[in-house]
């Protein structure tokens, strides 16, 4: 099922929570809504589900406007963060609730419950009350309940947030595999960028009711359209600092501090240069050494196993870099930080929009 959102807005009383959301989702595509809490991603999802009404704008499923359809007529399945299982029913009744409401025969319900529960690996739990299940098992029941109707669109509202870390990684791949195998279009709301990056075909990054970017995970990461996207996506987050860009002798120079300028390569030269520019650089794209570059003092070192996160300080501004364990950088030491100029990002400091990718 294709999904189109056209100029969707939503206000609660007089507070506008969504500002003209436009989105097109292809058939079978897995789209993640990514943003901090309160950004409007769940509101958008509930509008697609038909639980909230959009204040204005059109929602189309396969070119049919569904604004006026109640949730049950939208052919959707939904998985909630709290699982939202019917605690007074057992697993079988939870799975077949939708079919029971459709007045399907007992034989049909049995068959569907068997297929779905076996796919979800909960076939042996059908008689259990849901309160007796573990978090992971409950999540599988919730997913099974959404899938059993063979919906055209699957909606996920932070479905993995309540699971422990190990199980979350496991369920992440499981959900992606099932969605891929069934070919069902899916919208997945999350505040976890790793979930969004690893699962989605395209990510819609949202902040304060505004859609900041809608693109593939690699483009979101490598070509962030706004400063928000740049700093929200990526771990550890992107470093940002104020710089000045100047043209000198036909070359673009980035002035970091008095007497310290670096040449900007052609691939990163913006067409128009605003007055105030912010430069962004990801921790993995800078190098911490003894010579050459911007002077910093090592504030703290956080080992993570694969890399050591080096946090440096210069006049109150913090910079994060990565180093392979075994380096000889020590806390409190004075270091020099240099940048891979092929990887820098530039943003208009006023509009916070990228001057490279817009």
């Amino acid at each position: 099922m294709r999904v189109n959102l056209e100029k969707i807005t939503k206000s609660f009383k007089k507070v506008e929570v969504l500002e003209e959301i436009n989105l097109d989702i292809k058939d079978g595509e897995f789209v993640a809504f990514l943003g901090p809490s309160g950004c409007g991603k769940t509101t958008t999802l509930l509008i697609v589900a038909g639980i909230y009404k959009a204040t204005s704008g059109l929602i189309k499923f396969d070119d049919t406007v569904v604004n006026k359809l109640v949730p049950k007529d939208r052919n959707i399945g939904m998985v909630f963060q709290s699982y939202a299982l019917y605690s007074h029913m057992n697993v079988y009744q939870n799975l077949t609730f939708a079919l029971m409401l459709q007045k399907k025969s007992k034989a049909e319900m049995d068959k569907a419950a068997k297929i779905t529960s076996e796919m979800m690996g909960i076939g042996h739990l059908l008689d259990r009350k849901v309160g007796m299940l573990s978090g992971g098992q409950q999540q599988r029941v919730a997913l099974g309940r959404a899938l059993i109707k063979k919906p055209g669109l699957l909606l996920f509202d932070e479905p993995l947030s309540n699971l422990d870390a190990r199980l979350r990684i496991h369920m992440r791949s499981e959900i992606k595999k099932i969605q891929h195998d069934l070919g069902t279009t899916a919208i997945y709301v999350t505040h976890d960028q790793i979930e969004a990056m690893s699962m989605a075909d395209r990510i819609a990054v949202m902040n304060k009711g505004v859609m900041q970017a809608y693109d593939t995970p690699s483009n979101i990461h490598d070509k962030p359209k706004t400063l928000f996207v740049a700093t929200f996506v990526g771990n550890p987050p992107m470093n940002v600092m104020d710089v000045t860009l100047q043209k000198e002798n036909g070359k673009m120079l980035m002035k970091l501090a008095e007497g310290l300028s670096i040449e900007v390569p052609l691939s990163r030269t913006p067409k128009v240069i605003p007055k105030k520019v912010k430069m962004g650089i990801r921790p993995q794209d800078l190098e911490i050494g003894k010579t050459g570059g911007l002077p910093f003092k090592v504030y703290t070192i956080e080992p993570t196993g694969r890399d050591d996160v080096i946090i440096c300080e210069n006049n109150g501004s913090m910079f994060t870099g990565l180093a392979t364990p075994g380096h000889n950088i020590k806390e409190g030491e004075n270091v020099k930080v240099s940048f891979d100029m092929e990887k820098v990002q530039f943003f208009d400091a006023v509009t916070e929009k990228s001057i490279l990718w817009n």
């Binding site: 109640v70 609730f97 939708a98 098992q137």
Partner: protein, 324 residues
């Protein structure tokens, strides 16, 4: 001074959890915590019941006074079963309790709570607040209001506003329909208790679960039947049990409205009339206590029956164990 070992420190502590090692750390600890409450419950709840049964085996009345009474065995109890009015009192009590409970204290309460949770929050709150007014009105004022509502033409409001303009016969409604009168009068007060309990129970059902049922294809009625009612099973049981017991023993509204006339003498009112308000000046305490004793026995039977009917033991869930 040397350092103490862990065992020594814990033995010193008044709240040591090692049994038998300190003065308080033994199996009778619970008495200290439960004792005061148990004493109060014993003195004010258990003792009166025992006294009721003791007095029911005597002929104590205003004739014998508190000193000249004698044991008469089961005479009072036999009198109840042979009394010509007993069956009538049983009948009206059953009708009164059943219809008030089913249609008002649980039924109307459920309808009100479901309605007021499906309309905008402020409107629902205002509507429920209105239903609480009879509860804070003195009962005499409340009954006077009903008397004037149901009085005969030209005073009665129902008769003047509805029946006469429609060309229907007018009547003094309390005497013409006494059962309906006592059920309405009690029900309109009684519904608000369940309404408050059910409302808070419905509002505490998770929003996600309510939304999930809509996505699964339930309409509003199906959601009420398959989600809301099963989810508020516990408060339903509580209100049903509590209201059954309070209706069985309640009589004050009926006393002020009819004082038992027109066949509305419910069992508890009968006990009151016999024991504390005897027309002939013979306060039959012994007989009244036997009547009250019947209520105690019936109440206990109802309690047990409800616990069985609502499958109380099923409502207690087993602990969750986190496994993959």
């Amino acid at each position: 001074m040397g350092l103490k070992t862990v065992e020594e420190i814990s033995a010193d502590s008044a709240f040591s959890f090692t049994p038998g090692k300190s003065k308080l750390g033994n199996k009778y600890d619970w008495l200290i915590f439960m004792g005061p409450a148990m004493l109060l419950v014993g003195v004010f709840f258990i003792a009166p019941v025992i006294i009721v049964f003791i007095i029911s085996f005597t002929d104590m009345s205003s004739l014998t006074g508190f000193s000249n009474w004698s044991w008469i065995g089961f005479d009072n109890w036999i009198k109840i079963f042979t009394h010509p009015q007993s069956s009538q009192h049983v009948g009206v009590t059953v009708i009164y309790v059943f219809f008030t409970l089913v249609f008002f204290n649980v039924g109307l309460a459920l309808v009100l709570s479901i309605l007021t949770t499906h309309i905008p929050k402020a409107a629902g709150f205002a509507f429920r607040a209105l239903w609480l007014i009879p509860r804070i009105t003195p009962v005499v004022v409340y009954i006077m209001m009903w008397r004037y509502l149901m009085a005969d033409s030209p005073y009665g409001i129902f008769n003047e506003i509805f029946f006469r303009p429609l060309g229907l016969d007018t009547s003094e409604m309390v005497s013409a329909h006494p059962y309906i009168a006592i059920i309405l009068v009690n029900g309109f007060i009684g519904a608000s208790f369940g309404m408050i309990i059910f409302t808070s129970a419905i509002e505490s059902i998770s929003k996600d679960m309510m939304n999930a049922s809509l996505v699964d294809g339930a309409n509003i009625m199906q959601r009420i039947r398959h989600i809301i009612i099963p989810q508020i099973k516990w408060p339903l049981m509580f209100v049903t049990t509590f209201q059954t017991l309070s209706l069985i023993t309640s009589f004050e509204q009926i006393m002020i409205l009819t004082d038992g006339a027109y066949g509305t003498e419910v069992w508890s009112l009968w006990a009151y009339h016999k024991g504390l308000n005897n027309y002939f000046g013979q306060f039959q305490w012994g007989f009244a206590m036997a009547l009250a004793g019947i209520l105690v026995i019936i109440s206990i039977v109802f309690c047990i029956a409800y616990l069985k009917f609502f499958k109380f033991s099923d409502m207690i869930q087993e602990p969750k164990i986190e496994t993959l």
